[in-house]
Symmetry: C2
Amino acid sequence: TIETCDGAVLPPPPQSNAPSETLEIDRGTPDAHVSRDSRMIRLTGVHPFNAEAPLTELFREGFLTTPELFFVRNHGVVPEVHDENVLDWEFTVDGMVETPLKITLQKLVAEYEQQTYPVTLVCAGNRRKEQNMVRKSKGFSWGPAGVSTALFTGVVMSDVVRRAKPRKGAKFVYMEGADKLPNGHYGTCVKLSWVLDPNRGIMLAYKMNGEMLRPDHGKPLRVVIPGQIGGRSVKWLKKLTITDQPSDNWYHIYDNRVLPTMISPEVAAEGSKWWTDERYAIHDLSPNSAIASPAHGERLRLLEGGDVYTARGYAYGGGGRRITRVEVSLDQGRTWRLARIQYVEDEYRKADRILYGGKLDFQWRDTSFCWCFWTLDIPVQEMSEAKDILVRCMDEGMCVQPRDVYWSVLGMMHNAWFRVAIMREADELRFEHPTQPALIPGGWMERVKAAGGDLTNGFWGEQISGLDAVRPAKP
Amino acid sequence: TIETCDGAVLPPPPQSNAPSETLEIDRGTPDAHVSRDSRMIRLTGVHPFNAEAPLTELFREGFLTTPELFFVRNHGVVPEVHDENVLDWEFTVDGMVETPLKITLQKLVAEYEQQTYPVTLVCAGNRRKEQNMVRKSKGFSWGPAGVSTALFTGVVMSDVVRRAKPRKGAKFVYMEGADKLPNGHYGTCVKLSWVLDPNRGIMLAYKMNGEMLRPDHGKPLRVVIPGQIGGRSVKWLKKLTITDQPSDNWYHIYDNRVLPTMISPEVAAEGSKWWTDERYAIHDLSPNSAIASPAHGERLRLLEGGDVYTARGYAYGGGGRRITRVEVSLDQGRTWRLARIQYVEDEYRKADRILYGGKLDFQWRDTSFCWCFWTLDIPVQEMSEAKDILVRCMDEGMCVQPRDVYWSVLGMMHNAWFRVAIMREADELRFEHPTQPALIPGGWMERVKAAGGDLTNGFWGEQISGLDAVRPAKP
């Protein structure tokens, strides 16, 4: 167990059962050296490996996720690094600096201050399946489990960058991985001012929940950028380059962007104009939430009154902003109930000790880097009379999740209200999530669409009766 | 004129005609020493003075606002400071510091680095009239002109605070003004980490557009917190106190909060529980926008086709986040058009010179502190077929303005899509804004409400036809 300075006990990481053998499905692929968990839902066929855990299993693990259920976004082949070579892994720091550096992992561990803290990573495509149901985007279909949390151990990136002494006019840090892809190495950038901001906590990590990073998560060294989309947290890190311009790496330009909603795939394909406008590059996450209980397909027996069902889910914000409220509606957004929020991250904030070889000490930090959990007790009677359960959250900047889908060509950052439909069947309620990940069928969006409903009519494609339109508001 | 280093010419501040005489209406009030502009719309009767300019006049001034049309939020009597005493104005820096300080304005000017940069201030109640139309809040009725921009000259607050040497554990800077109010002096706080962050640009200012602050704007010294609600930019500054806890000043607790939407005025009045939860305190602004042209009541003659109307308005973000897109819909949010955005602030970003005695040099800064202007050319034919013009913006954190009103007991931070209704009358189009400020009648919200429409039905209280509900989506 992990104790804080005030004697509270931190929740330990969930028990990991590191997969020890290559799955049948991975044999014969270039990733045959990687052992994986068979529960992971593959989103892009067999290879490359892009996968999320079943939402219920992810949620059961609690605040921290085991490396085997932690979502994975790989663009290509996983670099193979044997344990005996890990400490010799080398990366460079160059560009607009006084002192270019070559740093081995051994040196990084020996000569810099080591830190440990929890960070939630989220794929920019989390919940994309919902957006794909509205209109097919150019991205594959994440469910709502493209989000996971771990205790990362490593060195704050600013310690490394400052030692290289950035020159005047430097504005960005370009980060490049070892993964060789059709359009070059994976690479992207982050603002230098963010790297230097201690409240942003941008880190070079080599451990996850106390163990060496596994191959899918960047073994042996990756960037971890709290509060930003996972696509900026470059894995298998080989290079940091300080620049005065944003990255021109293919993956920086043509991935991880929210183009304006009216830009169709055809227009987007016409040229680079829409892609090179840095205003459309995604960095900070936006506020988002989902319902884990009731789960998709869950059934609830209607007994004689008095019963209460505890709905549960997660919420996260971006850019270090705390989620300040989570609200649930049973009447399609007319009225809302306030959910309780559990900020497990704040338990770690009370600690001041060494954990996994790193200093766990961030009480001084004002920002929030992790998902939080919400619960709400709902009388079963009221659920049985409702059409759906909606959830939305708001961050400390008073940004609230919207009702409307913001469709864009890459289908990223979907954060409309998460809706679970309630189907009354004899003496049971059956719950339907919006979608199921990947090509798995199921969910109310599919059903509504098949029935000819318009998913973007403001009411999830349900028929709107004249009565609804004149019901008095109770905001 | 003001030239940048690349030879471009910066727009000078609009011509100010400083009011030289006390208005009839202010005579006999405790503010009889303050000269004001008669165009300002008073929102709380005669006194205290809370006022905004007519939107069209504000907009006509352009990027910078004259002090006389710059919105004012006063809680009570305006402190009177004669010109000959201005340099002797003194404020203190105390609390958790090694070196408590007493600083006169003379010393602040003589011993610290002076800076000048443009900042947009916005009242947290901007656009509140719309929220009051949905349901009466405990706040008075701002229109959409509770926003103004000026070139502020002063000293970065961190320079002062660092000189006092904050002690370990310090987390907040409490700021107090000279205005004596029923519940004590006006005071509130901001996070110390934000004060110390150069990208946040928090400043102690004594000049506005090159002239000494006028009484309504904090003469002789005020705080200016870019990207945050105006309520944190304490005027007539007398005290900075470094603390480890957020402020318990009455105005910090009971003002400038967005309580959860289900908290009614009655529940909120029951006790302090809802008020002392710092998660509900507003700091950063949220993304917002409005339409200035067409103006309320403007008429457009329908001539034979081919004509184009240029719609115009403003947008702003919070926490230093840039507005990255502004979108306009003519079909109630089904499809959107991309507006052009003019970032006048970026013109100033190119400068590197002394202006009004302060260094104008913020090219290095990644954040945006000012409103931007958008324009969109719309064929008149299309406008004549539309019910309304909607505008929404998105910030660089991918937070977009929502369709739905987030009502709360203080009626703050209203940022739902701004809607101008189009009324076809014979051979003219007549435009209706949602409301008019204060108690001024007019606007489609009043009309819809009077007709029994439900303003929060997702379609602004308009009747929803079955046809609308099944129209195919073109996101």
